[in-house]
Symmetry: C2
Subunit: 350 residues, 2 copies
Amino acid sequence: MAMAMHGARRAMHEYDCEFERLNEEIARRSAKKVGIQLPAGMKRLATEIAENLSKCGVEVIISGNSCYGACDIDENLAAVVDVLFHFGHSPVRTHLNVVFVELRCTIDVKPAVEEALKYLNGSRICITTTVQHVHTLNEVAELLIRSGRHPIIGKVGKKGNEVGGVHAIYDGQVMGCDLRAAMVECDEILFVGSGDFHPTAIAMNVCKRVVSADPFTRRVGVFTPENLIKKRILRVERAMSASSFGIIVSSKSGQFNMQIARNIREKAEKRGIRSFIIMIDDIREEALCNFDLDAFVITACPRLVDTLSVEKPVISVREFEIVMGERKLDELIPKPNAATHSDSELLSKE
Amino acid sequence: MAMAMHGARRAMHEYDCEFERLNEEIARRSAKKVGIQLPAGMKRLATEIAENLSKCGVEVIISGNSCYGACDIDENLAAVVDVLFHFGHSPVRTHLNVVFVELRCTIDVKPAVEEALKYLNGSRICITTTVQHVHTLNEVAELLIRSGRHPIIGKVGKKGNEVGGVHAIYDGQVMGCDLRAAMVECDEILFVGSGDFHPTAIAMNVCKRVVSADPFTRRVGVFTPENLIKKRILRVERAMSASSFGIIVSSKSGQFNMQIARNIREKAEKRGIRSFIIMIDDIREEALCNFDLDAFVITACPRLVDTLSVEKPVISVREFEIVMGERKLDELIPKPNAATHSDSELLSKE
């Protein structure tokens, strides 16, 4: 199963920080105060980036908060600066004073991918990655062809943007809330990138074996869907006997959805289940443990349910619909190669 | 030393929730949406309070975020409700749609205090408490007199409010940022309440032995200042060799102070010390560990420096002034019975 690959120290030269563009933005906006926001794994770059930007004579303020995606803009920081540079994610919405910097990685992905080739069993291989490595996909495809495989890069196209909401914008790009690039006819999936967040999401929602190749550590991970899906089913079954629910709403503007929470509450109350709407910024274990409730439904990022390790069952909106008898439990087992309705699509439907 | 007394489950009948007043406020404001916010130790009451308020036909949303004091209003929640009931703290500022509910505790403090009497060595005893038990201080004084001691209840009077900022409003009441009630001529200090946050603050800043009596668990804790102050001095001495500083600004409106951060940055840069302003909502260990810096200065709640357990030295603004050579290290050793300039006064001076 997964190998967690956290804490790898990143150096600024490993990424394209687009300083020229950032300096232009600063000049164009006559910005005096600049905010910078980075996801946890890249926060180590913050001080170097700050020093670089300071050379323009601006005051730089670094966000020290968690940052889980393009949906997670530090609004408090954005409110006190002229421009906020949000690093590491592709844009999903337009924000007046937020500039997205995708941080394309300059590191060579070949060694990691070559190592991963040893673990791939299938012949038709879907290649997926995060925005940092999306420019390397053709190179990865070449390596697969040379090893006798048939590479496939899943299209996300313009469709995603038309639907609106949280979406990947590059073919082959996956996000916690958008796995379209992995939902293609294939035998197995190769993920190029760090961590187990994305490969776990793919394995579980697409129901295929995923091999991950980390370009930084050159380590390979293998993710098989069976156990992950079994865990999910167990969680939903446990939630079925809950007599009280916490309905968790995120206060992050890109994940805030009070209407879904209200719908859930209505359904629960109709069935005589006590339920409470709880609004949280950073949805972590400790926050949920404070409440004496039997189970929780998360209306924010659909991937949170797989990453939180709380003793009580924590389920997604779609899983809650199963608990309410509106969907069948076997919907949790994705059908390979079908246009699966995964949790990842929930946010885009709103 | 201290015994941590966390996680004690609280029942609603142990507190005066002032439902009559809350219902009046709801009616007076024609509120349809009501937010409720409680500190961690009291969050267990949230669902019961929500159910009670729901009887008026309002929608209740519970804050799941941390809540460290009256300075820590959940602004995101306040923005989406008609009125936010903030429980467990006395008001320090006026907020348009925030109502403070002090949650006076109905539990008998006598058994815990009687137990604490066995541990008090001195004769002139200063009695301190939090807002939950402040109405019991005369009763506590009676018990002390009966045991042959001379009880003293420190005045905080109107002066605090006149100065403005974060302040206790009841005689005998202590807060992390206001220990005036403990800064009186006495031999030892009795603290009536739960946890070690307040007694630690008193012991360290007033430099006296503190005995705590928890009315809920009836457990007694003894807090001696020597080790606490030694730790603080060590921390400051370690910060003296730091060549880079993170200057932490809180985005909590009641703790936000960018000007102090700028002053610190200016001083650091003048001495050739690299420094970076970092804005954080919930200042916890994990947030600081993300940055590759030698030390941190906290411009938010002055008590945070004692509660964070980070490997790097984390110091207060006043301690930073010692590092910069503007104050002497021996200022960290409070002089008993003097009108000590403690860290707790910093916020009130702005």
